[in-house]
Amino acid sequence: MSALDWTVLFGTLAFIVLYGTWKSRGARNMESFLKGDQQLKWWMVGVSIMATQASAVTFLSTPGQAIEDGMRFIQFYFGLPLAMVIISVTMVPIYYRLKVYTAYEYLETRFDLKTRILAAILFLILRGLSVGITLFAPSLVLSTVFGWNIVATTLLIGVLVIVYTVSGGSNAVSLTQRHQMAVILGGMGLAGVIAFMLLPDDVSLVDTVKVAGELGKLNLVTTDFSWSDRYNIWSGLLASTFLFLSYFGTDQSQVARYLGGKSLRESRMGLIFNGLLKIPMQFVILFIGVLVFVFYLFHAPPVFHNEVLLRQSRATSAGAEIRSLEKSFLDEYAVQQVAVRQLVDGIHRDDRAAIDVAKTQYRAAKQKEDSIKTRTRQVIGKAMPRAKTQDRDYIFLNFVLHYLPHGVIGLLLAVMFSAAMSSMSSELSALASTSMVDIYKRVFKPSASAAQDLFASKVLMTLWALIAMTFAALANFAENLIQFVNIVGSLFYGTILGIFLVAFYLPRVKSNAVFWSAVVAEGAVFLCYFYFYEQIAFLYYNIIGCVIVLLLSLVLQALAQAAPVSGSSSPQSPRL
């Protein structure tokens, strides 16, 4: 990191925070603080939705995912456009008609207070955990790579977000997200261009695509169905649709973004904007990962991408074995490089037989490299028992730090910080809205003054930020961060979506039936997580939770209507 990088990084962050604080100053009541001025145009709504969803984990983990597993992760997003259409048609008009602060307010109108509070509490648990991970992920990676103290890194990101979010509320979130998204798109685009320019002169873009394709990285659509396979076209179109319906339709961090639109029209267009652009955006991020993969075919990568941990492990009693593994890895890499050269030559000559021979040689060398990598992880894990030996989240950042020019490194770090801040600010705003409107004001202080409401909203937002910072500073897990974020979501989203779908589409079902169905569904999802984690991919929890709520609420409602009402011969339905 040079002085130029530090200037770019802190200059970008300072501008965003100061601009957001200054432009959004003067929220005078709870409505303006939690809902904003509702003046956003459609493209601002769309940008805000995308910036909320894209956290630092997206940019740290996704390229690494492509490098190791190919581009098939893109299938996870196939259900998103479908969810955008369904939400635009059904949910958004209802939220507008009822003029709600939060999605859960609607549930009291449709059912009763306890169902509203159940959904709000499920959301608070889910989002409270997620905001901690949103902050923890970049803090862990950045503090490891730069040797910064993790508490200091967490404090830096957390305090920057608190400054403008607690000062300007929802307006500040939307305003800053525009700049954050510009930094993110600009930085990632530049990284992709430079990654391509760093490839050897005789490797064109077409060659790059062909090499990546021949080596199995362009596995964009996989059709084999398995309950335990996370990313294939079936989980993408079915389970992801449920996940995104719940995330965008019932998660307050997203609902608040499109309710900030100037009108129903602008909100709908914002969702459509997201439905059109999200898959291409993920394609670009994954393709940047593929470019980095091809880059590492011509430049030797480290045997273990968390280089700080690798360095530390060399100083332990296992140092000699680590050095020996590094040497073996480089020897195998030299064999692999010969195969890669032959592959490129075969592609240039359009010689199918030569390509197949080169691929076989590459795979043999790669298999040996992989076993050396696995052994290295085991040795590091044994030498340093508390160390996290998953290094996927470090691959892209390592590439940035070692191969991108100064200035661009600072910009890419600003991308990570901006992404963390953009999603964290939305999440804090949503946590404050839900705990304020659905719990505190509804149950404890319904008749407080406007000034008291505004003050309580700011206090709650600060409290959630402090909880997230404490969680991030104390958390001690790091195996595949992007997956963990999605697992936490899948644990709760199915049930929440089920409650909302019953509300929209099963008018005969009443509050008690849906409430107890939701309780059972949540128990069933946790059962799957604890006892069938290997058998059922977590994305399917979204379907399981939702379907249980829908079916069980119908059964409970039918039973309640069929049961005779004791002490009365009236044919009227009981209250269930």
């Binding site: 196939f78 259409v85 635009s88 596995n219 659509v221 129903l264 709908r268 267009m269 394609f283």
Partner: protein, 38 residues
């Protein structure tokens, strides 16, 4: 322009069809890319 009137097209249905058509086109395109290479 009424609140419900979408920009560019005369109905929301056209926008929704466009979103789904773009999604299907991407799935088909990605499927073809996968099939070509794997």
């Amino acid at each position: 322009m009424s609140d419900e009137q979408p920009p560019v097209f005369s109905s929301w249905r056209t926008w929704y069809i466009l979103v789904l058509a773009v999604m299907i086109a991407q799935v088909v395109l990605y499927g073809l890319i996968t099939r070509y290479f794997l």
